[in-house]
Assembly symmetry: C2
Homo-oligomer: 339 residues x 2
């Protein structure tokens, strides 16, 4: 088994348990016959979920891990005291060349810290960033950072722009993805110091920089990549989650209000389902931890099998396109052009 197209899957983390992850593995192995998956965790638990329906011969392997990082574990505990956790051992597979990527639904802070400790960052990248895909009017947007880095310098934002651009190239097969910096609209007060300084750095680089984008433009395809610090990015993403949930709830309420409405709702069901599918967060599950010497993808804690399979597919796309190597190459060029 080569590391090429092998993904180590943390089978123990996440709110929905190992069964969901085994189902996701099954889906991916059926669709991607070139991929191999390592299921990292308690062998008995994993076997129990595989049951009488074995995974494809030779393309799935169980790797034992005796501990689990919980959602409440501090980074310190996860990093120092849980060296046999499924998360740690999944990341170790990448470090040791047995897998090219790792996917986990576990604690984001722990995943970030362990990945950084075990895999290290690419030279020229100070801090890894979290990047996810967000649906937009006529396609989607890649947005980063989404919470790994609370306070960011202009230089960090520039690094995020570079990494986001490389990821967008890989995932969307576009040659020169457009890059925008998230900023506020007020003309007099256009942004804080870091954003203004980052704008200069990015516009003087080889990136396809299109300037500032405002919050609403995340959803209008103005830029392929939207760059911001982790505080702003996290709040923007969570705001969207909250609003989408409220709107869904309102829509449901209206179609349940009277017997007539319920009847119309029944007739409109395929239309409403097709609408829901378009904003289904499961389709966008899988955030990339960029800037590491290896591919690490974070799945939502409450991901179901469809959503988790999507996160594995994002990891496979990153391997297919050699994202870490491209980031390394780009950064070494930037570093040598400065030197």
């Amino acid at each position: 088994m080569t590391a090429n197209l092998t993904v180590a899957v943390d089978a123990m983390s996440g709110d929905k348990g190992t069964g969901v992850i085994v189902d996701a593995v099954r889906q991916v192995l059926a669709a991607r016959t070139d991929a191999t998956l390592l299921l990292v965790g308690d062998p008995a638990e994993i076997e129990r979920h595989i049951g009488n329906n074995p995974l494809p011969e030779g393309r799935a392997q169980i790797v034992e891990a005796s501990e689990v990082v919980t959602m409440d574990d501090s980074v310190a505990i996860a990093l120092r005291n849980k060296k046999k956790s499924s998360m740690r051992i999944a990341i170790n597979q990448v470090k040791e060349g047995r897998a090219a990527a790792c996917v986990s639904s576990g604690n984001t802070s722990a995943l970030m810290a362990i990945s950084k400790f075990v895999l290290k960052t690419v030279p020229g990248i100070d801090r890894p960033a979290i990047c996810t895909t967000i649906p937009a009017l006529h396609g989607h947007t890649h947005m980063l950072d989404l919470g790994a880095n609370v306070d960011c310098s202009a230089d960090h934002l520039f690094q995020f722009a570079t990494m986001g651009s490389i990821l967008a190239q890989a995932i969307d097969s576009v040659d020169k993805p457009t890059v925008g910096l998230l900023n506020i609209g007020s003309e007099e007060l256009k942004g804080n110091g870091q954003v203004k300084e980052a704008a200069e750095l990015i516009s003087n680089s080889s990136l396809n920089y299109i300037g500032f984008v405002e919050g609403n433009e995340i959803y209008t395809d103005r830029a392929d990549v939207v760059v911001c610090d982790g505080f702003v990015g996290n709040i923007s993403l969570k705001t969207s989650e909250g609003l989408a949930r409220m709107i869904s709830h309102y829509l449901k309420e209206e179609f349940m209000r009277t017997p007539f409405n319920k009847l119309v709702g029944l007739v409109a069901k395929p239309i409403l389902m097709s609408f829901r599918k378009r904003i289904d967060p499961r389709r966008y599950n899988g955030a990339s931890l960029l800037g590491l010497k290896g591919v690490v993808v974070k799945s939502h804690g409450s991901a179901d099998a469809v959503a988790f399979a999507n996160a594995i597919n994002i990891a496979l796309l990153a391997i297919d396109n050699d994202v870490p190597a491209k980031i390394t190459e780009h950064m070494s060029q930037s570093l040598s052009s400065i030197a």
Copy 2:
């Protein structure tokens, strides 16, 4: 005519022209028979829109202004060179005691700067903040700051919390509004320095502080008042606008996809209209500029008559409840308790 329940309306700013504002004035005067409105602007233009349908005798008055602050005017131009603008003269009405509030659809930065220059801030308030009402699952949330202040200290956030709490008391008639600080979810990195420090200040005050709230909780009624700096607040609000527009667009597309879908859409129209009404941004138009010695309300530039009337109603509620006096009183108590 007393200043009591008199609102000066900037009749020249905004994208939709004076006609929309005259219509809004008509709606408000019909609904609030205790209110008086001053229409500030070009008398000929205002008269033209009033036409043959006069406004209620003695409850509407035109105040002449020969200039207009445009959306492109810099703050410096608006403040120094346009002393006869409808915006400036509307604010002057408050300063000179001829009105208790001013409403404008004009340039936010100019409105903020002129209001601050003419009316001054309440002692103890360093910077006015912009506060608006946002729909939430079972009610609404007041959120501030939304873009007036890009970089905020912990002390500023504390001032915003105080002002937001007083506004929520006034608008919702709740005794002790709950106050939350907008923060990110990551446990290890809970927020930046200012947010952590502000949390201490607010939790040691008499405000009904409930702790950190995450972006999604803006829409779940967890807090009556959500406090953040203007950079984050603006991006969160604009993100919501963009997402709501995209979702609306998707929903419309699904109901237009096939002739059958169109037919179902026709039958479902009253349900969809009722849904749309619940997320109609016009219902929430009117952001309060808090911390000034007077009531100033900013309407959206593209507000129609319904939306603009809502902004005037928010100004009337703030007068009804004496919001500036309550902020002054609260701040003087805080200041004397420190001294």
